[in-house]
Amino acid sequence: MNDTSSTCPEYNNRLKMAANLVDKVRTKYRNAALRKRCLIWLELTGCSGNIISLLDGSNPDFKYLISHMTYFIYNNSLSVSEGENAMKQLFSVLGSDYILAVEGAVATRNNGLYNIIGRMNGKPVTALEAVKKLGEKAAHVIAVGACATHGGVSAAKPNPAGCVSVQSVLNRKVIKLPGCPCHPDWFMGTLAHILLYGEPALDSSDRPLLFYSTLIHDRCPRRSYFDMGIFAKKPGDKTCMFKLGCRGPVTRTDCPTRQWNKYVNWPIEDDTPCIGCAQFGFPDAMEPFISYNITREVRK
């Protein structure tokens, strides 16, 4: 690119823009870019498995999260405060800058009375009210786990509590991190991106491309067995588990490469099929999880 005296105005603009960006990054690095921000983690209608999964994270781990990444203000499982004091702490973030992480679906039956998360000034606070109040004003809302993302198991047929996703009760963008549970790295990575560089690149379903772009099938170590038509007959076998019901071909996430719990293992390596827990539609659209009677033809 030696020709800088070009007649093309667009090209000249591009050169200037590139230089501007480089300057910005240089400045940010000089100014120690990782700035702590307030975080609240709301547990709603679910199993509270995502906060447990978060505690299982490493590098960064939970300690790093609460010391260097965030002012972790509230969580039902971990907050020392109880009762109204806890509720006051939770709602104290309104009016300031905060990030809201939500796990669990939103129960809507009976106007949300199927899930009450606390009492404020003597009145019960439903999950529905809390997520709406805190969600509308948050700088970012991250739906963590299958239930928050699309209803998940809480909304499984016949959905007795009328559970819906967090997005369906909020009128603003919600970053979605499906998974049952959500891998701690997916949450930590998304949060880190927000803190360092702003909102991450999202796909058309609002999932960070960083974690949810490639199908498990396309990175599966057993793919060559699939291609050759060599199928497992039962869990425990070492070949492709397509005929047992593996949902790897329809699930977009990085389990094959990242693996779980300090990267020691993952479902397919454990000789069980993927049950599609990180794809929209889990669990109803991913069942049956295990089938023994599916026809096994060898591909030509």
């Binding site: 994270g57 203000i73 009762g83 009492r119 047929k157 827990c277």
Partner: protein, 468 residues
């Protein structure tokens, strides 16, 4: 003058709970605890493939998901007439042990300790309003450090679990016949080495920590007793060559200990929102219809009873029934029992590991039965867990779950309060603005509301919902 204290949310438990306590002359005279979460798992399971229940029911709870996979697997094995091999049992029970360790370490440090130890105030999460912290600075700081260091230890318990189970929470390895994959030497030694680190932590730091707290909070040995009925479905028991490594199914009621008989379990619905077909029923017999207009009822939770009596289940029940710890029944005893049990489980796991034969595959191809019924009863992290299921036309036609928190935090019936309700009675409350005694008592039961909960005493109609 009776004053009503309301605590909602009760934080540092699994799920959502409200406690209402009526206090007179600084003592609790009446109490209600309400579970505030409803999803309806029993209804969801109808119509699904039986094998899927093993994965589906895990989503009842995030901190004890393994427990449900085990109970579900046992119920399926019972229904299908499958007897797992000993190696299969060892492998599955090792995974179960990992979950015990994860839960007990997290419950003690993350859920219990902040009630007694002042954690660094520069973390907003640790802001406490009460001032009943009695430990001298040096000891307080030691326990606060252990809170932080324990995070790595409890995390490694899940790491161990994933080695055989694929991932945690919501593992994949537990299945009919034992587990899906095979043990290999590298997996075995990996687990053994992580277990050694956890065991050392329990012995060198966790046990001294709990006794340190006990030293400065001796009054809690006299709080939270309850009825003294103890129940265990047994766990790590009845191996063919190893015998019982921990505890057999046993019950202790009205001062007598005897073997547990599942036929004596009933669920009362006197104060529960179900149509009165009959007042009590056995778990596999009826599935009564909901009826919120029923007079006097105040909860979705039924009241599990053994021979008509409310029972306590959990680490204290197990430690007492197995003879390992018989100091007493109270808030502090419950907490100590949980910590001692962690050490016991680690030792049991070590024995199982030493008896593993690498490379054994325990899986087979199975057919879903056309019609079957089975039950899976096992003692797990919080106590006695039972899954009952019926299969018709190759799919689940009925599924019933009674969780440990259902036993511990049940509704009243026949004029008897539930276990934890009874435990709250007579609890002293020093400071009405900061009634720390109440939360401490309830937390000693390790409640899991996502599983099932409700506690109530008093005849008032309250709109309470709960369950699984």
């Amino acid at each position: 003058m009776t004053k009503r204290i309301v605590i909602n949310p009760v934080t540092r438990i699994s799920g959502f709970m409200e406690i209402q306590a009526d206090v007179e002359n600084n003592r609790v005279v009446d109490a209600r605890t309400e579970g505030l979460l409803f999803r309806g798992f029993e209804k969801m399971l109808s119509g699904r493939t039986p094998f899927d229940a093993v994965y589906f029911t895990q989503r009842i709870c995030g901190i004890c998901s393994t427990a449900h996979s085990i109970a579900s697997t046992l119920a399926l094995e019972d229904a299908m007439g499958i007897i797992p091999s000993e190696q299969g049992r060892y492998l599955r029970d090792i995974i179960h042990g990992c979950e015990f360790l994860q839960n007990h370490i997290r419950h003690f440090y993350q859920y219990t300790i902040p009630d007694f130890v002042k954690l660094p105030e520069n973390y907003p999460l640790f802001k406490a309003e009460h001032s009943d912290f009695r430990l001298p600075q040096e000891k307080n700081d030691r326990l606060a450090k252990d809170y932080m260091d324990s995070l790595d230890i409890s995390r490694s318990a899940h790491e161990m679990l994933a080695v055989l189970g694929g991932k945690a929470p919501h593992n994949h390895g537990v299945f009919i016949g034992g587990i899906t994959t095979q043990a290999t030497t590298d997996k075995i030694i990996k687990i053994k080495s992580i277990l050694r680190t956890i065991y050392n932590f329990i012995c060198e730091r966790m046990i001294p920590d709990v006794y340190t707290i006990a030293d400065y909070y001796k009054d809690y040995f006299k709080i939270g007793g309850g009825y003294g009925n103890l129940l265990s479905y047994g766990c790590f028991n009845s191996y063919k060559t190893l015998g019982t490594l921990y505890i057999n199914p046993l019950v202790h009621t009205v001062g007598i200990t005897c073997p547990f008989n599942p036929d004596n379990i009933t669920e009362e619905i006197e104060y529960s929102w179900y149509k009165d077909i009959q007042d009590s029923s056995k778990p596999l017999e009826t599935d009564p219809d909901a009826d919120m207009s029923k007079a006097l009822a105040y909860s979705w939770v039924k009241a599990p009873r053994y021979k008509g009596l409310p029972c306590e289940t959990g680490p204290l029940a197990r430690q007492w029934l197995s003879g390992e710890y018989r100091n007493g029944i109270s808030v502090m005893d419950r907490t100590i029992a949980r910590v001692l049990e962690a050490k016991k489980i680690a030792a049991v796991m070590n024995t199982l590991l030493e008896n593993l034969i690498p490379g054994i595959s325990v899986q087979m191809e199975y057919d879903t039965p056309e019609t079957a019924a089975g039950k899976g009863l096992v003692d797990t992290t919080r106590g006695a867990l039972g899954h009952w299921l019926r299969i018709k036309n190759h799919v689940i036609s009925f599924y019933q779950i009674i969780t440990p928190s259902g036993w511990n935090l049940s509704t009243r019936s026949n004029n008897m309060r539930g276990t934890a309700e009874q435990a709250l009675i007579d609890t002293p409350v020093k400071d009405m603005e900061n009634p720390v005694e109440i939360g401490r008592t309830i937390r000693s039961f390790d409640p899991c509301i996502s599983c099932a909960t409700h506690v109530y005493t008093g005849g008032k109609l309250i709109n309470t919902l709960q369950v699984v």
